[in-house]
Amino acid sequence: MNSKLARIMIRLYPRAWQHRYGDEFEALLESNPGSLAQIANVALFALHERIFPTQGGKMDRNPDSFGAVVRHPSALIPIAMSLTALALVLGHIAIYGPAREADEGAVAHLWQILMAAQLPVLPLFAVKWLRRAPKQALGVLALQAGAVLSAMAPVLYFNL
C-alpha cells in the first residue's frame, strides 16, 4: 500500500488511536500489498474502533511521546520537588522578607531536603529514558534542570 493511501486509511481511526498506533500501523500498511480486501479490513476495524473505542476512548498516547515520558514518576517527582522548594522560598520571602537569617530555619531545611532528595532520581530517569526515547528525555531533563535553577535562583539572588 502506498504511503498516501496508508495515511488516508489511518485517518479513519479515532485521533487517540492514531496517536498511539499511527506510526507503526502506517509502517505495517506500507509493507502490505494494499488489496481491496485489506482496505476493507482496515475500514471495518476503524469503524469498530470508533463505535467501541479501546480503553473507552481514553487510550494512552504513544508511550514514548513527550507527554507520556514527562508523566512518569521519575520525570515528574524531581520537577514537583523543585517547584515545591521554589514555592517554600518565595512564601518565606513574601512573609519574612529577603533578609538573611543567622540560623537556618525549618524552611531552609525543607528546601535542602527537597533539593537533595531528587538527586538520586535524576540519574535514574536519565539512564532509563535517554536510551529509550532520547529526544523526549532531553526535553524532560531540560525541564528538570530549569526547575532546579528556578528553585535555586531566589536563594542565590537574595543570598539566603
Partner: protein, 113 residues
C-alpha cells in the same frame, strides 16, 4: 455421471482448515518471542493458516495491550515489537488447556460413533 470435483470434502475444506481467534493467535505468536506486526502476520499464517488483515491484527493488539496481556517494546525504526506479559502467558496457557480439553472430549465422542 456428476463430477465430485467441486464437492468440498470436510477434511479439505479451506474454511475449516484454519483457526480464527485473533487475540489468541497474537498471544500464541508472541509466546515464541517479541515480534512486530508484519512478523506476527507471517508467524500466525505459518502457525494456523490464517493471514490476519492489518485492521484485525491491530484491533487484537490494542485490546490485548489494554488488558495488559502484551506490552510494547521500544520501536525499531517505525515498527514496534510487542512481547507477551506474565499475565498474557497465564491466559494463553489457560485458553489452550481448555481448548485441548474440548478437543480431547470431541475426539473421544467421535471414536464412539
Amino acid at each position: 455421471m456428476r463430477s465430485t470435483q467441486h464437492v468440498a470434502s470436510p477434511a479439505n475444506d479451506p474454511e475449516l482448515d484454519h483457526f480464527s481467534d485473533p487475540p489468541l493467535q497474537v498471544l500464541a505468536s508472541l509466546a515464541s518471542g517479541p515480534k512486530h506486526g508484519h512478523a506476527m502476520i507471517e508467524d500466525i499464517f505459518r502457525l494456523c493458516g490464517t493471514r490476519l488483515g492489518p485492521g484485525t491484527l491491530y484491533g487484537a493488539i490494542a485490546r490485548l495491550e489494554q488488558q495488559g496481556w502484551i506490552e510494547p517494546l521500544p520501536p525499531e525504526d517505525r515498527r514496534r515489537p510487542y512481547r507477551i506479559t506474565a499475565d498474557g502467558s497465564l491466559v494463553l496457557r489457560a485458553r489452550l488447556a481448555t481448548m485441548n480439553q474440548f478437543i480431547q472430549a470431541g475426539l473421544k465422542r467421535l471414536e464412539s460413533l
